[in-house]
Symmetry: C4
Subunit: 241 residues, 4 copies
């Protein structure tokens, strides 16, 4: 129980900081960019990548999903306990919303406003599909080949994906819901939220199939892991990367 | 004694370089940014993050707090000797002021000028609370899970936090005091200094409570550490990360 | 066979993401840069460097050439099986083209358009020579001295080389061919493709000679490696870095 | 002999790439920055930091000083053979000049032009003093505490120091001489070269005194190293980091 409480606290704080970073950097940059919005996107990508790396390093010993899709995919891959999935969803979404409120308040805006930025259309849905597919590929692949580099791989990928996907890489249902609560540069109109989440789900499904085959654990490796789990009576190992 | 002298020298030089970086990059960037202040903030965030990482790597074998709040929090966590706290405060503040003077002189300005930039209001105080809370979370968490990544985690966090906090992440009383001594982009009006430091103190208090619980050392781990300390008769281990 | 299929899949997906990054970030940045094209190049360099590092980390346990010249040079250095060279060429070029199509579609452009940007002349050919020569030097040198840092070395080098070479560092025949399929910032006129690839080939030849001598494996090292290969009956070791 | 030839080749190629990066990125950025020179400095700092890290990783197993002051300081610290100092000076300066010529030619400029940018005055000399002092501190400190992080520490420091020193961090006599050979953004008027080098020498002297004391090898450590050197009959260990 204590372990779940600690993990949930990490998910809440981490997701809150992630959203405060995305929304806060967008507000500050857009106030100063003198009409050159490319500089604002550069600021958001730079800040999000650096802070995400720092958060995964900081919370990595306890829990650092910060993303319902990562939680769900880990459960499907049998690397995460199904009984923790719903609690994680709740704290991730609550943490994300809390982070947006904090960002709004830091910049002297009302705690919550409804976003009016339309984000819709085939191109952006394809963007979310690609962004989520790639995110899970980077997580599964790096976790297999070089787990210690995961904080850097995820931070680097997300920073870059903000630039190359037309949707600016949400790739996270908690992020998508929360960003409807700020009418600033990084907001998303509530009516566009559902389609983004569907596209993320489709990308995650494709990732589970393709990367599940590509990065399948060897049988030998699996047996060894299970034996270790038995020996140490460990709780689900994948909570901490 | 020799050990304290070396540690204090590292704190003086490191904090001086940190401030020279923040203030110097702000002066150069703002002179060249053609009215696009977002580019200047990007320059300050980029330079501060990279130099901070380099400084922690360079001085890590001796001492690399560069921040009275980190020193105080480490003492409260029993990871740093109380008898070194006041000397550290003094050299950190002196080093910070020295770094600002050097930055001013490098750009052919008077060594000290009194800042006129107002930095005040609830939003910015909340920004300092959040920035300091997060900084200590990143330090405590990474130190526990992956101490070798600390220089990268701290540099990355601060670079990002300059963007997402409305106060541009001072998160350091020595930095706050010293930045009153330059009337350039990164200055702070002397009358606004105290409130920033209170907000930092509040954020640090919250961090000590929450992260103290979250990243508490296991009992087993603590005993092992104490035994090692006895064996090697080491001076306070946390001076060097 | 299964191993080749997995390696080819990694090459296809990785090269596709690489191209989606270069082309996609160029489209988004150029749409927003308010006439300051230097900001767009910064965006492309930043995104390409970060994503490339993430891709090499993710696919490193299976295959991460993403570049026909790297594949060919590895075969010439006897670190890669000649029988896999042609299949790798095919999937790298197909993946690169697929990535460009995805990038175009994400930004609501036709899947393929013919680029009209001229990239020609002695200066740019020299740029491709230098870019490719340096890329192979970084790969061979880092692989010898510090293989675990390869993802960071390659990502960092390419990000920087986009800035310092007049040709903005293609250094990859699959990339060059595919970038003829988008009439956006990062496109290249089809008639200019062949000369770029010749220049890359010349740079690679110089690199094989000079770095082949500089980073030659010691005789002792080679024998040890061959013995290990015999013991484990491994397939070509260099597929995964 | 063969070892010196390989080390000298690395110094020539590495220093050439370093200069091609500084000068080339300055030319490209300034052509595109639409009058916002801060973006150009950001490009130069970003490219120089990333490429320098990649070069140190690539050449680290053989030789990666790329800077006469690093060579001289290493010899004074007895970590580098005096008999190699003059050959290193020659190839570093020749490599630097060669890199500038290549950069000019890549951008369709004459191979050599005489720089006309004045860089002079107390502020900039102080900048060079500070830049060089800090560079050696980062090298000596990181080499002692965490040698494997040296490529990242040096790249990060230089990228940041380009921003915070008024002189934009030359900190290298070979770089200073070679940058007189290009009349572009990063050039330096020949008459200003000598004073920059004096300031660098003064900064290096201060660094040798202060950091020599701070990062002195323990007696125990030194004996162990000497014993190892005797056992393996190694040539000077510090050529490769």
């Amino acid at each position: 129980m204590n372990r779940l409480l600690k993990a949930a606290t990490c998910e809440f704080i981490g997701t809150a900081f992630l959203l405060a970073t995305v929304v806060g950097s967008g507000i500050l940059a857009h106030k100063l960019d003198a009409g050159n919005v490319a500089v604002s996107v550069l600021a958001v990508a730079f800040a999000t990548g650096t802070v995400l790396t720092a958060l995964i390093l900081a919370f990595g010993s306890i829990s650092c999903h910060f993303n319902p899709i990562v939680t769900l995919a880990s459960a499907i891959r049998k690397e995460f306990s199904w009984s923790w999935v719903i609690p994680f969803f709740i704290v991730q979404i609550a943490g994300a919303a809390f982070g947006v409120v904090i960002a709004n308040l830091m910049f002297d805006l009302p705690g919550m406003t409804i976003a009016s930025t339309p984000r819709s259309g085939f191109g952006q849905w394809l963007g979310e599909f690609v962004a989520t597919f790639g995110l899970l590929g980077v997580i599964f692949g790096t976790a297999k080949s070089r787990a210690s580099a995961l904080p850097f791989a995820v931070g680097a990928y997300v920073a870059g994906a903000i630039w190359f996907t037309s949707s600016t890489c949400f790739a996270n249902p908690a992020v998508t819901i929360a960003r409807a609560l700020t009418d600033t540069l990084t907001g998303i109109r509530p009516t566009d939220v559902a389609a983004f989440i569907y596209a993320q789900g489709a990308g995650a499904t494709a990732a589970l199939i393709i990367f599940g085959w590509l990065f399948a654990a060897d049988q030998a490796e699996l047996s060894k892991r299970q034996e270790l789990d038995r020996l140490y009576e460990k709780e689900p190992a994948s909570v901490s990367h």
